[in-house]
């Protein structure tokens, strides 16, 4: 491409805007000063030590991690069969069903959280964990339907029919032929679902209970009372984890798998 | 009408790979010149230099006597037709054609008249309100042509404009382009890798290879008298014989067979080349000049003729024979290489 200096400059500014705030946090995490300040006065790892000494962060991480995995697995369990049924044949009202399955995206997260709190926590009096799990299931389901659905659209179903003619039963054919061929879609769906569940705030905010907080809500809570670089240190750890995930996705599926 | 001169044009990619190496070309007023060559030979790059998408690292582009090397694309006023047609999908046929005129701040009525005129010429009047998506390949091609011609360009540049059409349409469009070009008298550069298309449409042909022009001449010249081995191979000479000069118009092959060659270039060591169609099968007792004995290895049916792959004392030769007298594999035949048809490269 013939280069355009103005466009390149403009794009650099925008990337600076996207990148610098997070870079600043990363720097402050290693600063000795108790408040966030520039230039940094000295190098320290004590804020990282502080992270591992803060119980709410550790238990929050554990909860968020478990929640993201279990909610995503449940979503895959009910979402993949549905996506398969929808793409396999002309179900009546296919479009309507698909938009119904995607409907949690249309309802704002804050409303989902609020209505679940009212109905599940206050009316049905379900334990906190069940409530959180249901909420996060709703958060991740659309990613599963969308990404697995688009993987199935790419899939050539004559391959599956070929397996049937070779004497493979339908259930067996699904596991032996269809599933391996959409596995990258399922992995991408899992990644996206996991990340979005892990990062969710509005749903978790309503459904957290005494002593049961996800990491983001614990962080949010912490910020309201303390203003020190411990949050920066947590951020650095989470960003490092994100980079690792992105790197793995890039090497296996290509980064494009996360932008669909 | 304009004439175009390319003077010692150099283009490199990343400052390393040379794509054009000191290319020189002169295109006369109103001529249709084709750039012919295999992919990667630099023909499209040459066209893009003329169009202004590539600024050469050195060299000059002159149109008439005006230096154009660094003039921005949009100020050149050259009409361009892309292989993909590049019609604007969000604009109707009429709006596509109007695009260039609108930028020239022309009187509305004048503009409308010109557009209708060119649509008429290109046989598109009834499609004026359609969108590119609703047109067939041939119609799209004509819109692309109309869009390029309506701005009354100084040059018309065509980048493999026919390669996305089916064979029959391609033939029609070829005639159509030639007709329009002659009617408007517009100097035209046509890039193609299809030699038949190229020969039928061009006033002159530049055969390119490895970033230089190997030969520049009329289609007849190139067809009958290729100057280099590359050009010969590219335009269908399949038989090559190593020759050494013995006397004027007399050459000897490596096995000692003597060949009379009418057009003697004076080279001491060279290749003699001849098309499969030009070699004649003669009766087995004919031992006249330029004849040799050959053994049939493979016979292939081509439809209007048979092709024989022969092994001979001067190497493997390919002969096309339309006489219908079949010779089987393993048998021998006598062939004659007419002295008028042997070209030295």
């Amino acid at each position: 491409m013939r280069k355009n200096k103005f466009l390149t400059f403009y794009a650099c500014l925008v990337f600076g805007f996207l990148f610098l705030p997070l870079a600043i946090i990363a720097v402050t995490a290693f600063n000795t000063a108790p408040t966030i300040s520039f230039p940094i006065s000295g190098f320290t790892l004590k804020w990282f030590a502080n992270v591992f000494a803060t119980k709410s962060f550790l238990s929050g991480f554990q909860l968020s991690f478990m929640l993201a995995i279990v909610a995503t697995l449940i979503a895959l369990l009910v979402g993949v069969p549905a996506a398969y049924a929808l793409s396999r044949n002309s179900v009546k009202g296919k479009k309507l069903l698909k938009s119904f399955f995607l409907s949690p995206t249309i309802i704002p997260g804050i409303v989902v959280g609020y209505s679940l709190y009212q109905f599940i926590v206050l009316k049905m009096k379900l334990p906190v964990m069940q409530g959180l799990l249901i909420g996060h299931f709703l958060v991740v389901l659309p990613y599963v339907i969308r990404v697995v659905g688009s993987a199935l659209e790419q899939f050539d179903f004559s391959i599956e029919e070929m397996a049937w003619t070779l004497g493979c039963g339908k259930v067996k054919a699904f596991f032996k032929v269809v599933l391996p061929n959409i596995s990258s879609g399922i992995v991408a769906a899992f990644m996206l679902a996991f990340i979005n569940s892990f990062n969710n705030i509005p749903v978790s905010m309503f459904l957290s209970g005494p002593g049961v907080r996800t990491l983001p809500t614990a962080l949010m809570n912490y910020i309201e009372y303390f203003y020190d670089p411990t949050v920066s240190a947590v951020s650095v750890l989470l960003m490092a984890a994100t980079i690792v995930i992105m790197f793995v996705v890039e090497k296996t599926l290509g980064i494009g798998a996360l932008t669909k | 009408m304009s004439k175009v001169t390319l003077n010692d044009i150099n283009v490199s990619y990343d400052g390393k790979t040379q794509i054009l190496k000191g290319l020189n070309l002169e295109i006369g007023e109103g001529e249709l010149v084709s750039l012919l060559g295999p992919s990667g030979c630099g023909k499209t790059t040459t066209l893009r230099v003329i169009a202004g998408f590539i600024i050469p690292s050195s060299g000059q582009l002159l149109v008439d006597t005006e230096e154009m090397t660094k003039v921005p694309v949009h100020k050149r006023n050259f009409g361009l037709v892309f292989q993909s047609y590049a019609l604007f999908p969000h604009l109707s046929v009429y709006e596509n054609v109007a695009f260039g005129l609108k930028l020239r701040k022309m009187d509305k009525n004048e503009m409308d008249r010109k557009i209708k005129e060119i649509l008429e010429v290109c046989d598109l009047t009834e499609y004026a309100q359609r969108f590119p998506k609703q047109l067939s390949g041939g119609q799209r091609q004509r819109v692309a042509l109309a869009r390029a011609l309506v701005i009354e360009p100084r040059l018309l540049l065509l980048d493999e404009p026919l390669s996305n059409l089916d064979a029959k349409l391609r033939l029609n469009m070829r005639v159509e382009i030639k007709r329009l070009q002659k009617k408007l008298g517009i100097t035209t550069v046509f890039v193609t890798h299809d030699q038949e298309e190229c020969f039928s449409i061009s006033d002159k042909v530049a055969v390119m290879n490895g970033g230089v022009i190997e030969q520049f001449g009329t289609p007849e010249e190139i067809y009958s008298r290729p100057k280099t081995e590359f050009v010969a191979r590219f335009i269908g000479f399949e038989n090559f014989i190593k020759l050494r000069r013995k006397a004027a118009q007399t050459y000897v092959a490596e096995d000692g067979s003597v060949f009379a060659v009418e057009k003697d270039g004076g080279q001491e060591e060279c290749l003699g080349t001849i098309r499969p169609d030009d070699i004649q099968i003669v009766s087995s007792n004919d031992t006249g000049s330029n004849t040799i004995l050959a053994k049939v290895e493979v016979r292939t049916y081509l439809g209007k003729s048979y092709q024989y792959e022969l092994s001979t004392p001067i190497g493997r030769l390919v002969v096309n024979d339309g006489s219908g007298n079949l010779v089987n594999a393993g048998e021998t035949m006598r062939i004659m290489l007419p002295s008028t048809k042997i070209v030295l490269v």
Partner: protein
């Protein structure tokens, strides 16, 4: 496939969604339009008559709208830039754009607290340069909410636009230039109209996202700059005003739906490429 097996495959998800999404929503929203055995809109009428609520409603719309416009202005040229660089660079730039999107929104808001706060970087620079004597109060203003929201959704706009723009052939730009349009004009007359579907999709995502985001206004806005989302939380969790919260929730849903449908309608009208 047989009908029975289809039903068997989509039954679990349908039942689950009805039980954990539709039922709770109905349980929350129905009482707001139902009083004494009759349908009533009185609660919504009083919502739109209360200056306090109107102010919050308008502020939410204003922030979402400005955020969408700024994301367009910043995102369109950037996305075009990304779509034109080599494949390798496109991957790298897309990763940089994607990274903030995968980072927790608390962290992203926290970054802006550090930048805009009383002791934040901007104030430190400004006082060091003696541009100001007193630190500026930029945090807990509508401005800080706006910046935080733009920061939140700009990557989404860029990524959506790249998806559309990378499919636009370079020939289009070159054809426009050969017809006499400068590069800027070619961009405006050809690339921009061709990107409209992407711009609309991106705008819908950014606008609805900005309208409903919770973390950013909560952390960067403070109680003075409440938006609909923070209002729901406050009504429900702080004031225990369930009906109030539910009214705001429905207002939010309906507004986002109207904007979504409206923009998609505009997109259909603008996209007149014609069908086959």
């Amino acid at each position: 496939m047989k009908k029975q097996s289809t039903i068997l495959l989509i039954a679990p998800i349908t039942i689950l969604l009805v039980v954990v999404l539709i039922l709770p929503l109905l349980a929350v929203l129905l009482p707001t339009v139902w009083e004494g055995g009759a349908v009533t809109l009185s609660r919504y009428l009083s919502f739109f008559q209360d200056p306090y609520y109107i102010k919050i409603f308008v502020r939410t719309l204003r922030i979402a709208l400005i955020c969408t416009l700024v994301c367009m202005i910043l995102g369109i040229p950037t996305a075009y830039f990304i779509s034109r660089v080599s494949k390798k660079w496109r991957g790298i730039l897309m990763s940089i754009a994607l990274f903030p999107m995968l980072t927790n929104s608390v962290i992203r808001a926290f970054a802006w607290i550090n930048i805009l706060g009383k002791n934040g970087i901007v104030n430190q620079i400004l006082t060091a340069l003696h541009v100001v004597d007193q630190p500026l109060s930029m945090l807990y203003t509508e401005f800080s909410v706006l910046i935080g929201t733009i920061y939140l959704f700009l990557p989404l706009m860029i990524i959506t636009l790249v998806g559309v723009m990378e499919n636009i052939d370079n020939d289009m730009m070159e054809a426009a230039e050969s017809l006499g349009a400068s590069r800027l004009l070619s961009f405006v007359k050809v690339i921009l109209p061709m990107s409209i579907p992407g711009i609309i999709t991106g705008s819908v995502l950014v606008f609805t996202g900005a309208m409903t985001a919770y973390t950013t206004p909560q952390l960067l806005g403070g109680p003075k700059n409440m938006l609909l989302s923070t209002l729901i939380y406050q009504r429900a969790m702080t004031l225990n005003d369930w009906t109030g919260a539910s009214v705001v929730a429905l207002v939010m849903i309906v507004t986002t739906l109207i904007v979504m449908k409206g923009l998609n309608f505009v997109a259909d009208r603008l996209d007149k490429r014609g069908e086959n």
